[in-house]
């Protein structure tokens, strides 16, 4: 995850409390989504950014996961996300995200 985004996620967690922050990802690949999810839960796996060694354990979802989809106004989802939903390997993304959440999320 981009170093600046890591810094912002860290700041939000400190400001609002980690239990009150949900990170929503839009990565186009399961692996990339998993890496970002790992960064905001277990710490930066590349050991480069502000989240290196910081285990925030934030709640994190991909926008195409069913838990997030049902939060949306269906018209907005249709307008903004449905095309990508057709394109992405949603099952792969759900598997990656679930694995990371099960292992590292502290607030579920």
């Amino acid at each position: 995850m981009d170093l600046e985004n890591q810094r912002r996620v860290k700041e939000f967690a400190e400001k609002y409390g980690p239990e009150n922050v949900v990170v929503v990802l839009g990565a186009s690949e399961g692996e990339a989504a998993g890496l970002a999810a790992e960064t905001v839960t277990a710490g930066d796996p590349t050991f480069a950014g502000p989240l290196t060694g910081v285990q925030l354990g934030l709640t994190v979802y991909h926008v195409c996961e069913p838990e997030i989809k049902e939060e949306f106004d269906p018209d907005v989802y249709e307008d903004q996300i449905s095309m990508m939903e057709m394109v992405l390997d949603v099952d792969d993304i759900v598997n990656e995200m679930s694995a990371i959440r099960d292992e590292y999320c502290k607030y579920l």
Binding site: S28, G34, F47, A48, I81, M86, V87
Partner: protein
């Protein structure tokens, strides 16, 4: 009439030394984690020059192989060397690091770049033998400096070292003691850009079959900035490179837009030519040191070669309509506006579906799409997937949503209307433009009727806006004959009308008599 694509060039420079010393991933790692395993292992993953030459995607980039031929190669590509591959291709070449360092010196007009005497002596004839390096350019190589002086500049004066085969062979000195915009790192980055830009310009002039004196305007669309503390991005790479290339009748300017830069520049160039402001315009982009080895950590971790070891450059020559070459249709322009939004659906809609709809066309009316053409060999192991394929899936999905494509044809859309990625991950370099050279040839050969070039840019990286950006345009077969045929009909009609009027007038006169 629309401007035409007269020719294009695509060049690479294989620079493994710069991967280690100048790539931003490696620079960052040396700061935050200087003893890391990655930094220790990276040198073992660097490719030799011969390996870079025999790399399939590189051979496609310089025009010796086509994207269609690459599609027939089993993925991944890095372990399938192309036997017998050569340095030179019809679009350009793959320059070795030693010669590129000499070319950087040719591009240096402020004596900030020093090369060691013995190194210069060993390689100056090699550079002079390059078919586009003319005598006046080769003559810019200096005799060389003492190794001890170079070492002193690097150790004591903050100079940026230049390396070949792991040895210090030169340096780029800082151009100012305090101004960070002129420090050695920035000067190095900018000289690399200028030198690769120059090489791209030289090949483009050759490939277009024009004279250097024909070029009237150059637009640089790279992602570097040159200037000083009072004007950080003052410019102008375009004119600076044109000077070294010997384009004596050209002026120019820099156009920026992150990775969307080249497409913006192409539209600007086509408009300048169509408006008659300039008859011949070169759009050029040089290579970027920062992006060398950008995904190196993933490549090393997965046991692959460090595949981001080449600087890329390209140049397209646009001229007034010659009645032959493919033209840029300025009626079909896609643009991501401030109000478009950043959802992929909106982005693809604004760049692909909307401009076509405005012209009564469907997504399937475009024969080939060239969006972000990153080589998947580089991006897939880094978790970024196959970028061109993702784009084709999005375009196809949008076509399905619009009822222009059957859902069952989703899977075959990419092979019919797309290309496999073959460009180095040098930011602006892979963004739409790598296909222009092939598109020109395929349209001239009648293989395709048209192609859409799509550039996209991540403006938010500059922290000035959260907006995304993108612009697209269509290259099509030359329509000059049709247009003059149409205008010919109307001219004869006009003549007929004048003749009729004269007859009537004569009749009136005769009646009066």
């Amino acid at each position: 009439m629309n401007a035409v694509i007269k020719g294009a060039s695509y060049i690479l420079a294989h620079v493994p030394g710069m991967v280690i010393h100048n790539g931003s991933t490696q620079i960052t790692e040396r700061i935050v984690n200087p003893e890391s395993e990655y930094l220790k292992q990276l040198p073992e993953h660097l490719r030799t020059y011969q390996q870079a030459v025999e790399y399939w995607p590189n051979q496609v980039y310089i025009g010796n192989k086509t994207p269609e031929e690459l599609a027939g190669v089993e993925f991944p590509y890095y372990d399938k060397p192309l036997a017998g591959a050569g340095r030179y291709g019809k679009f350009g070449e793959i320059m070795p690091e030693a010669e590129f360092l000499l070319l950087m010196q040719c591009a240096d007009v402020f004596d900030v770049l020093l090369l060691e005497k013995g190194f210069v002596a060993a390689h100056r004839d090699e550079l002079a033998a390059d078919p586009v390096i003319t005598e006046d350019i080769a003559a810019r190589v200096k005799e060389g400096a003492e190794a001890a002086d170079i070492e002193r500049f690097v150790k004591e004066e903050h100079a940026e070292g230049l390396y070949a085969d792991g040895k210090l062979v030169g340096c780029v000195k800082r151009a100012h003691d305090i101004d960070v915009n002129l420090n050695a790192e920035v000067m190095h980055e900018n000289l690399v850009n200028k030198a690769s830009n120059t090489l791209a310009l030289l090949y483009a002039v050759r490939n277009a079959g024009i004279e250097k004196t024909d070029v009237e305007y150059v637009i640089d669309c790279s992602e570097e900035a040159c200037g000083d503390m009072n004007q950080r991005g003052g410019g102008n790479f375009a004119k600076a490179a044109a000077e070294i290339a010997g384009l004596m009748n050209a002026t120019g300017s820099d156009s920026r837009g992150f990775c969307a830069g080249p497409s913006h520049a192409m539209v600007e160039a086509a408009a300048l030519v169509k408006a008659g402001a300039y008859k011949t315009v070169a759009v050029t982009g040089g290579g970027c040191t920062a992006k060398l080895g950008m995904n190196g950590k993933d490549h090393v971790k997965k046991g692959l070669p460090a595949l981001e070891d080449c600087l890329g450059g390209f140049c397209v020559i646009l001229t007034a309509n010659d009645g032959v070459n493919p033209e840029v249709n300025l009626d079909i322009l896609g643009r991501h506006t401030v109000g478009t939004g950043s959802a992929p659906q909106n982005v693809i809609g604004s760049l692909v579906a909307d401009p076509l709809e405005r012209n009564g066309l469907k997504i399937t009316d475009i024969d080939k799409y060239s969006p972000e053409m990153q080589n998947p060999d580089i991006t897939k192991p880094a978790g970024a997937g196959d970028v061109p394929q993702s784009n084709y899936k999005m375009i196809a999905a949008l076509a399905v949503k619009r009822g222009e494509l059957e859902k069952k044809d989703l899977a075959t859309f990419a092979s019919k209307h797309g290309l496999v990625g073959f460009a180095p991950t040098q930011g602006h370099i892979p963004s739409g433009v790598p296909y222009i050279g092939f598109a020109r040839e395929d349209i001239l050969a009648g293989k395709i009727r048209n192609a859409m070039i799509i550039g996209k840019g991540s403006l938010f990286l500059g922290r000035m806006t959260n907006l995304f950006d993108g612009v697209s345009f269509v290259i099509q077969a030359n329509t000059a004959a049709e247009q003059s045929a149409q205008s010919g009909v109307s001219e004869s009609q006009v003549r007929g009308m004048i003749a009729d009027a004269m007859k009537e007038f004569a009749a009136v006169l005769m009646a009066k008599e």
